[in-house]
Amino acid sequence: MSLLEHTDSESDQRSDQSVIVLILSLPLKFFRIYVDFFKRRPLGAICSLIVLIMCVIGLFAPLLAPHDPLRSEPPIRNLPPWSEHWFGTDLNGRDLLSRVIYGSRLSLLIGVSSVIIGTLFGSIWGLVSGYWGGGFDLISQRLVEIWMSFPGIILAMTLLVIMGGGIIPVTIAISFGRVPSGTRVIRSVAIATREYTYVEAARAIGMSDARIIIKHVLPSCISSFLILSTANIGGGIIAEASLGFLGLGVPPPVATWGNMLSSNVLIALKPSWWLIVFPGLAIVITVLSFNLFGDALRDVLDPRLRGEH
């Protein structure tokens, strides 16, 4: 055979097949893990389904929303729920159900991404700081203490003074508040892990720091990271809602659950109940599901962190 007529040898064909089998079996493996999760923590699994449904609603908002969330018809301002508008209409005549559905997109996007970005940044910082120790760790610890002295909302407000409103500024502002907790938790995991014998052994054979961190320390941190982020996503969504209420969030007419509950709606002389109840319920259901899912995840991934049954 010349080099141009290469055909796969037996072993090559077998390894190709095993890779394909591996990839095809991933969904099945995931399904099995999920069924196991369902059996051990049914409440958490149900909540994860609710979270999934919320995400699907957000994703398919254009298909699900009965009306245009931005278009208003003045003659039908501030109507209570009825057959044409299931959640009623808001003060500008826009259908509330459509606004809640479309609002889920931005609220979920901002809530989830801000927490994940903040926790990720904090985790990487904590990981490196905990592993290296020394001067870098000392300075980082002081910085984190200073960072933690700012209440989350007030920190976000201060950042939004200079950044203005909008999706990205709000996400960045909320993510700043999540960094210190990520740093602290992951740093303690990293400190614990670097004392393990296998890390010592890896250092002895001359592995570079970066490789040790990625291969040995990182896996221990992943479960802590997952637990921390899912537990805080609810807080991120509430933070977005609070900023929207204060008028500092994403500016109208774009709908988020937060700015639908903005102060001019809530402080009206005779507030309409549907304007308050429905966006708020959306927030509560989503946050509740995320919190319970996060608790169940923590129970499954690291029972030592359990504070209660």
Partner: protein, 319 residues
Amino acid sequence: MFKYAARRLLLAIPTILGASVVIFVVLRILPGDVLAAMFGEDEAMVKIDPAARQKFLEDLHLDKPLYAQYFLWLKDFGTGQLGESFWLKRPVFDIIKRKFPITLEIAVLSFVMAWIIGIPVGILSAMKQDTSWDYGGRVATIMFLATPNFWLGALLILFLVTFFAWVPPIIYKPLWEDPWTNLQMVFFPSLISATGQAAIIARLSRSSMLDVFREDYVRTAHAKGLTSSRVVRRHVLRNALIPVITLGFLTFGNALEGSVVLEVLFNLPGMGQTLLQAIFDKDFVIVQNFVLIYAGLFIIINLLVDLMYGWLDPRIRYG
């Protein structure tokens, strides 16, 4: 104990200074003139006469280099000469003096209410574990942790307006002038803030008590024949409540944070509402100083919690 306290105190000072540096840097890294940021790019949009502009320059020390501005600000903060707010047309220190008591009142009242509600719920939940009392308590806790406090407040106002045709008083009266009006205004926001904190405290005390129930000395006490209530009173409570008191005091920080939103909702002229308005007005003088006050309070709370921990749990002091 003294050494521990001194050490913690010494650590708190650079933290506060660090916080002030961060605030200063964040608010001054804006490109361009601070005054332009405050008043808009086109000065002609807002007519500031040269005398007012000069006064501003002096108050904020904008004619000096950046590091000098920072130290002069610290000195001003220490002496209380914080300059004047352009929009509110009064000295910043006066503004703080008027607004701070309201915020403090809400924070303290909500804190007290949270403990009165939270601890009994948590203890009851733990003692009657896995009964309907426990499940009810846990469900309530989880629900309150998932609701935004301003939404709860809005529902409360809606409820009061719809069913009782009652609105909180509009004109603010300080506590010593007109206690009844004052309490009417302050009670409901404090209640809402308290529910969130109480949820955290209840959760904490429940898990802490359950942990202590599992300890050997509790089992011994039961084995000796002591009644349940006696065991709880003499052995469980004092040990279980240590982490609750220490971590629970941190919820005072949550109270401060939540009060910003609740002040806006219930239209109370406290620091939070003023801060929000200052952010809309881009009133850097107020934002800078108010945020430093909030951060400083947070640091003091954390310091007190650490000291309390050291006092209550001797193992921390000598560790």
